[in-house]
């Protein structure tokens, strides 16, 4: 539940700009690549992760 950070406490949320969107997506992509390198093509681990 780390996603329920401070932003969830307020009534308003800052509108994201195009730059923020592009940046966020690039970051998520890097993060996924790093995760992918750790458990490369390991189906058992992938399933375990999905079941978590």
């Amino acid at each position: 539940k780390q996603h329920l950070h401070a932003v969830g406490e307020r009534d308003e949320v800052a509108i994201a700009t195009l730059e923020m969107v592009v940046e966020r997506l690039a970051w998520l992509k890097r993060r996924r690549e790093e995760e992918g390198r750790e458990g490369e093509v390991d189906l058992a681990k992938r399933l375990a992760e999905r079941a978590r």
């Binding site: 399933l47 999905r50 079941a51 978590r52």
Partner: protein, 65 residues
């Protein structure tokens, strides 16, 4: 993933791509062919209908505007 007491996560259905690239592309090709055929037929149908209306107008001056 823990929300809404979701127990059935559909694990039996694997959406991993490129497990069998040749078969995956082949089945896409069939779907695309069906779509292309369907699109052609729809367009032909509209054209036929319009021609039919024009033909009737030409035959019957009463129907002309």
């Amino acid at each position: 993933k823990g929300w809404d007491d979701d127990e059935d996560d559909g694990e039996g259905l694997d959406d991993t791509d490129d497990l069998d690239p040749v078969a995956e592309r082949a089945s896409w090709k069939l779907r695309e062919l069906v779509r292309v055929k369907r699109e052609r037929e729809e367009l032909e149908k509209i054209e036929r209908e319009r021609e039919e209306i024009e033909r009737r107008r030409a035959m019957d001056p009463e129907l002309r505007k």
